[in-house]
Amino acid sequence: MALISPETLALAALAIAAYWWWRRVRYRSWQRREHMPAELVAARLWGSEKAIRTRSPVPLFGRIDQAYRLRNGQIVIVDTKTRSHDRVYRSDIIQLSVYRLIITHRPWPLPHRDVAPYGYVRVVQNGHVQYRRVDLLAFDEVVSLYRRYAQLRGHHLTPRFSRNAGMCRGCSMHEHCERPAA
């Protein structure tokens, strides 16, 4: 007598097929809700919440939210921002550009990667998701920002105020800053 009857096997196969179909449906529905760009839908996840660092050309570190590997081998970085308005700031572009520099110059023995000169800021606004494509800074711009920050920390340069005076209103450092609120 067979240990497992053909009916049981058929039922198990059916259950597995139903499970994978359900997963696929859920995945598609999630992708629709996400409004994910087509190139990312077809891409493979390269890393998620992953710590990265480099020593060259300048010592930098960070933690990427997500990075995807496209079919052509390029890595595209995605950073999530939860905001009350759908907007991308210069600080987001700098952050993504730093990640790009780190991934491209990862220390040995990790292989160097070709990272796309653009990235996506995933803006979550009241549960609604939008992917905003942004062009990233060149490596030398990131390096000069690093040098500027080092000089600012060493008090060799005077720090600039924000160009947007309205930002001072909600600033957490307002009481220590000389600039009056706009």
Binding site: L145, Y149, A150, L152, P159, R160, S172, M173
Partner: protein, 133 residues
């Protein structure tokens, strides 16, 4: 440490894009965060974690790659992947083991992300396995 060679985080450098003065003041003074902002940050952290879990669950990456090594292209992961494809998937028992692995790995990966120490322990054993392979 030489100030010009100090490791700087991406978030710290990004602050320069908003306001250089605030970036420096944050180093000297403890930040006073309002209740509303604290709640907003908490919401942001929750969204990050939720999205991470979803991405890991749906993309079916190797849990070793995402959680333990933090890199799908790490040499150890490539060795383990080769073992899966060239040894395990050639037998029925091996195929069943791989299937079981993919059933359980997303849940395990979600837990491992929260426990870096456990990741390090697991990495020690996996490294030994990779050396043996």
């Amino acid at each position: 440490m030489d100030e010009s060679r100090r490791p700087i985080s991406a978030t710290e450098l990004a602050e320069l894009g908003a306001c250089e003065r605030r970036a420096l003041l944050k180093l000297e003074h403890p930040e006073k965060v309002s209740w509303g902002r604290r709640m907003a940050r908490r919401r942001g952290d929750r969204e990050h974690l939720r999205h991470h879990h979803r991405v890991v669950r749906y993309s079916r990456p190797c849990f070793i790659a995402t959680a333990v090594y933090g890199d799908a292209d790490a040499p150890s992961v490539a060795t383990l992947r080769g073992f899966r494809d060239q040894v395990l998937l050639r037998s029925r028992v091996g195929t069943a083991l791989v299937w079981l692995y993919y059933c359980w790995s997303p849940a395990l990966a979600r837990r491992l992300v929260k426990h870096p120490r456990l990741c390090r322990v697991l990495q020690f054993f996996l490294d030994a396995l990779v050396r043996w392979l």
